[in-house]
């Protein structure tokens, strides 16, 4: 009975290992830098590290783009802005 239990536990962990590897490789394909070396197997910890860095850089991008957008919206001519808006929201 214990062997059966340990076997089932082993198979359960094996399945989730595969799942995790799949998800890690899927994540790897989303990352901009590692995409070029897609054929090479990159370690999971490297993928996680690159993911954290990528998320942080995206957050920073949003911050800086918000600054610029706020500036531009401030100075934009309201008529031109509404023209742009109506064009984009067709």
């Amino acid at each position: 009975m214990s062997t059966r239990r340990s076997r089932s536990r082993q198979s359960a962990s094996r399945i989730s290992d595969d799942q995790i590897n799949d998800l890690v490789s899927k994540l790897q394909q989303l990352l901009p830098e590692i995409r070029t070396h897609r054929s090479d197997k990159v370690s999971a910890s490297k993928v996680l590290q690159e993911t954290c860095n990528y998320i942080r850089s995206l957050h920073r991008d949003i911050d800086s783009l918000s600054d610029r957008l706020a500036e531009l919206l401030e100075n934009a001519d309201p008529i031109q802005a509404s023209i742009i808006r109506s064009l984009l929201m067709q």
């Binding site: 994540l27 995206l58 929201m89």
Partner: protein, 171 residues
């Protein structure tokens, strides 16, 4: 082998279009509320644009994802929070408010300084859980899945904002 037709919710073109619409809608609301705010402070406007960006992302994805649910929850709670408290005119107040709410909601279960995962994972996975909203108590599979979706939406939102900046700056 051609990839199967993705459902419109994950099709990047459709996501970008929907994000653009929602973001413009939120920005429009921002502009409408102008008269109520002291809008000469660029930090405040920039902060509101940033909130509009995250709100757009979360609204478009809806409650399908843990990260979007977490963002929507945070937004709803901060609205209640700011309504009950007197509005301070200092811009720094809003920054601290948003950051302290974020800290309070993400670390409410974390009292220790060093957090070691029950599986023994530390370091990268813990850092990831802090970066993606709504995944603190998720298992590893769910965490990776949410992260992938979050990255996709973040990247699309950044693209939408870049396009808008280009558009507005060429006028």
């Amino acid at each position: 082998m051609s990839p199967p037709q993705q459902p419109s919710s994950t099709n990047p073109n459709s996501l970008k279009i929907r994000l653009t619409h929602r973001f413009l809608h939120n920005l429009n609301n921002l502009n409408k509320k102008r008269s109520n705010l002291d809008n000469t402070q660029i930090h405040r406007r920039s902060h509101r644009v940033k909130l509009a960006a995250y709100a757009s992302m979360a609204r478009v994805v809806g409650s399908r994802r843990a990260w979007s649910r977490a963002i929507l929850w945070k937004i709803r709670n901060r609205k209640v929070f700011t309504r009950n408290k007197r509005v301070d005119h200092k811009t720094t107040h809003h920054h601290h408010l948003a950051r302290s709410i974020k800290r309070r909601t993400t670390n409410h279960s974390n009292h220790k300084r060093e957090y070691v995962d029950p599986n023994g994972n530390s370091g990268q996975e813990v850092k990831l859980r802090k970066l993606v909203p709504g995944v603190e108590t998720m298992d590893a599979c769910g965490l990776l899945d949410e992260t992938a979706d979050y990255i996709k939406c973040l990247a699309t939102q950044v693209e939408v904002m870049r396009n808008l900046v280009d558009l507005y700056s060429t006028i």
